[in-house]
Symmetry: C2
Subunit: 266 residues, 2 copies
Amino acid sequence: MLLIKAGGGKDINWEGVCRDIAEIWTSEPVILVHGACAQRDELAARLSVPIRKVISPSGITSVYTDQEAIEVFLMAYAGLVNKQVVARLQRHGVNAVGLCGVDGGLWRAKAKKEILVLDGEKTKLLKSNLSGRVEKVNTELLRLLLDHSYLPAVCAPALSDENEIVNTDNDTASAVMAGALGIKKMVFLFEAPGLLWDADDEGSLIRRIDRLKIENALPFARGRMKKKILGVKRAIEAGVETVYFGDGRSVHPVKNALAGKGTVIY
Amino acid sequence: MLLIKAGGGKDINWEGVCRDIAEIWTSEPVILVHGACAQRDELAARLSVPIRKVISPSGITSVYTDQEAIEVFLMAYAGLVNKQVVARLQRHGVNAVGLCGVDGGLWRAKAKKEILVLDGEKTKLLKSNLSGRVEKVNTELLRLLLDHSYLPAVCAPALSDENEIVNTDNDTASAVMAGALGIKKMVFLFEAPGLLWDADDEGSLIRRIDRLKIENALPFARGRMKKKILGVKRAIEAGVETVYFGDGRSVHPVKNALAGKGTVIY
């Protein structure tokens, strides 16, 4: 079984991703997790809802989520992008079903109502945050769909233990999902050729990384890439054997990634 | 099995609807179809996307749907309201899964790319319309979920035969779904006590209507109520035996409707 996590950047080649999935799907079960940050940011701007990006004391970027922000999140992720991806997969003959982490308690998260963030040199505490970390996955629902030839197309948000809708990190959630399902192969697609030694130089691609040394990649990963590395670390701890980083902008995003044209964490 | 169609008006008592469903769910399978027109209209206004309401030559109101309109539709229906209803059902202990008609080809619609609309005294043809009429239902997916104790919470849009996302009428789709599943009992909830003889007088409630005479209700039904009457007519033709119209604003919307406090079409 293959778990594909496609980022939500505006240049992701969705047509290529879905075409590749349709080909793989004929011989292997696939779960797709997708982002939608470009559409989320665009919608938030049009609605004048601020996206409050914050940085944790350990340097990890995330979004402070209030009620208004979670509504924008639902609309962009679970509404717009999820259903557009499902329809596109249907056009390629894949009977996809779109779910967010709320559906059937698919992604159960421990709420993080209070978060510590950097404010210049200081740290401060933000309260009433609607986000959480996925800890449990409803694998029964995923298996039920896969066993009946439905491809689950999954996205955030998640459902907290108190059944509140909470923002969550897709990369971490994908890793937890992979672990829960005993998946051995994951593909991460984003708007870069793979993991770069120098984020400003697309030629500085790192072709292979020993999965036991993945943490060494943290110092030169920037911004959201730090989260992906942490996601990969979690996935490997959960039993994933090979992670393929690939360029979501290419003609064959998934096939190229699996062919080792990006970064292979082996 | 009970099919509940709850309208998308802003005064629908969702807490009451979900509480009633949780009680019924312990002894009977339930499918919920919900609208989201209030949230769709609000979102469209905030995004300055016009909602082009049109009237057919036979006097039926609908919405002309272009690409921008279908995106607003997806966000409000499949994103915002669907997942908020699912989370609310989860808080009441019901393991709901939210789907729109696109997921798994749940609602297959025949596209109506061109529609005739009234323009004053004349009729004119509007092209490039992204809407359709639901003709087929993926009952296998609904049964799969119900058989595994998941309550399907369903909404528009639908998927056309060419796998395009198309707006569709929820009332008609609910009727087709009821027929396909062999459902005998349906509840329609909206922002009125039931079918009114005089739409301006909430005291003019009609308590009972013989289902074979439902068409006689068309002349005094106004606006969206005409569609509900047509939906009921279709449902009855498809084998539904009793339809309960009830007040979605009441403390116990579903239970009151089933107790005959609105209009019973028997």
